[in-house]
Amino acid sequence: MTTVTVQGKEVSPLRRFISNFAERKLAVVGLVVFVLLILAAVFAPWITPQNPYDLTQIDFMDGRLAPGSSGATLTYWLGTDDQGRDLLSGIFYGLRTSLSVGAISTIIALFFGGSLGLIGAYFGGRIDTIIMRIADLQLSFPGILIALILVSALGQGVDKIIIALVAVQWAYYARTIRSTALVERRKEYMEAATCLAISHKRIMFKHLMPNCIPPLIVVGTVQVAHAISLEATLSFLGIGVPITEPSLGLLIKNGFDYMLSGDYWVSFYPGVALLITIVSINLVGDQLRDVLNPRLQK
């Protein structure tokens, strides 16, 4: 009997969203892989065979062992690096740094850029011109150049990398939310809110902002992949995260020297992990763009 009532019900937007998203199998695979990566990163200390940064657990004699070889205490499925650290464990820990740097910088940039874009669109005039001029200006420089300037200016460290990534990304969000907000601002509910004499802050963040979120989510998802990729690049160049908190990019850099002597795995497997991360996020982002695109919604 219950099935009948469910059929009669109006389909909720969330349910429609989920079924739309699930239409493309590849996107679902991407999502599943991405969730697994997040779980691996979060639970790394509990699921990895060794803590690669605890010196008591590392056997220096096991340095640069090929994948699948057995060491004194455990089998190294993906081999070991020059310090004798288990690469699989290293990758899980590296994923932790990569994902958290990517996510944190995206959230901060989303908040920062989103607020600026919203303020610009809502107030218009001079404030809008100044904010957008700065955003345009910044977008006329390649992201890597901005990051290089900031990193060479601020020095190294996880916090500095996050600042650099935020600086590279905020303008995308400011532009995205501004173009949506400019359309929304002309709608009737905004007029109604203005007539009710609610404060600007409340109108902006309670009424205007929730309606500008969908495109921001799409841009945000793709930008997480960009942020992770840029952080990996900077770390590979040796100007990213410090050695104490290695990300995937730094693991790849560490293995790079041994690649020419044939010990490919030290660089290769962290590279594969990076590739899987970026591709899975992009698959999810692509499908989100199609599902959330207002022009395609019936």
Partner: protein, 324 residues
Amino acid sequence: MLAFTIRRLSQSVVVLFVMSVIVFAGVFAIGNPVDILINPEADIAEQEETMRRLGLDKPIWVQYGAFMSNALQGDLGNSFVHNVPALEIIATRLPATLELAFLAVGFAIILGVPLGMVAGLKEDSWIGKTIMTGSILGFSLPTFWVGLIFIMLFSVSLGWLPASGRGETVDVLGVPVSFLTWDGLSHLLLPALNLALFKISLVIRLARSGTKEVLLQDYIKFARAKGLSNYRIIGVHVLKNILIPVITVLGLELGNVIAFAVVTETVFAWPGIGKLLIDSIANLDRPVVVAYLLMTVTMFILINFVVDILYSILDPRVRLGGAN
């Protein structure tokens, strides 16, 4: 027009000033170069003497003032490490980077345009879809990662191409170039392809959408009605028309290619300015870092300025829009 040019020019100058302050102040804060340059066993007097010689004992704004007045005269200071003018080091390294960048742009055209045209002509076939998937990968994969795979595949496994360095060079008008010797060419191939990858993906997209658009035009129908062969229509009429946006975009992207060369040059140990920058950051060689960043920033500001002026000539709405 004059008012627009002046306004745009003053904006460029302001940006350049802000960037120079950020770069200078930031690089100043990176660390104390004295610790690296002076023998740790030197006594205080010797240290102070070296600091005075390098001008590091003065307050930061005095250093900035001296730096700017010298910079305007084309003197960006001597490299702490090599003890020759920073600009001179950059000038000797620049040809290598330019060679790489131009070849990369060449690859982008030679490979990107035909692939994009095929993708546009055979949009629904597997070949078109494969090309488009490839271009998505080219966009999303980090450059350094692809470079590593290139080295792993072509240098380590197959042993076809060398993985690092510039190889044998020949002097042309006093400038060493690699592409005229076999050895140099083999060294050049992998890094140039690596650097080109992103641009190839970009050109594929431009060429594909261009082809799809051009195919619907009347002059193509007319060419078909005239009985021209398919090869001639695609190879001449379509190709010529899609090349305009491709070349415009690639011209704008040349600056980007030079900025991204930092990554490729590091992977392939290519002795250009990008590798110089990374080495200089590692060595805390402040003048070289500042000179590189200022030079690149100036280059971008110049490109943007010229493009804006050209656009405002071609499309008056640009300068009218900026006026209010």
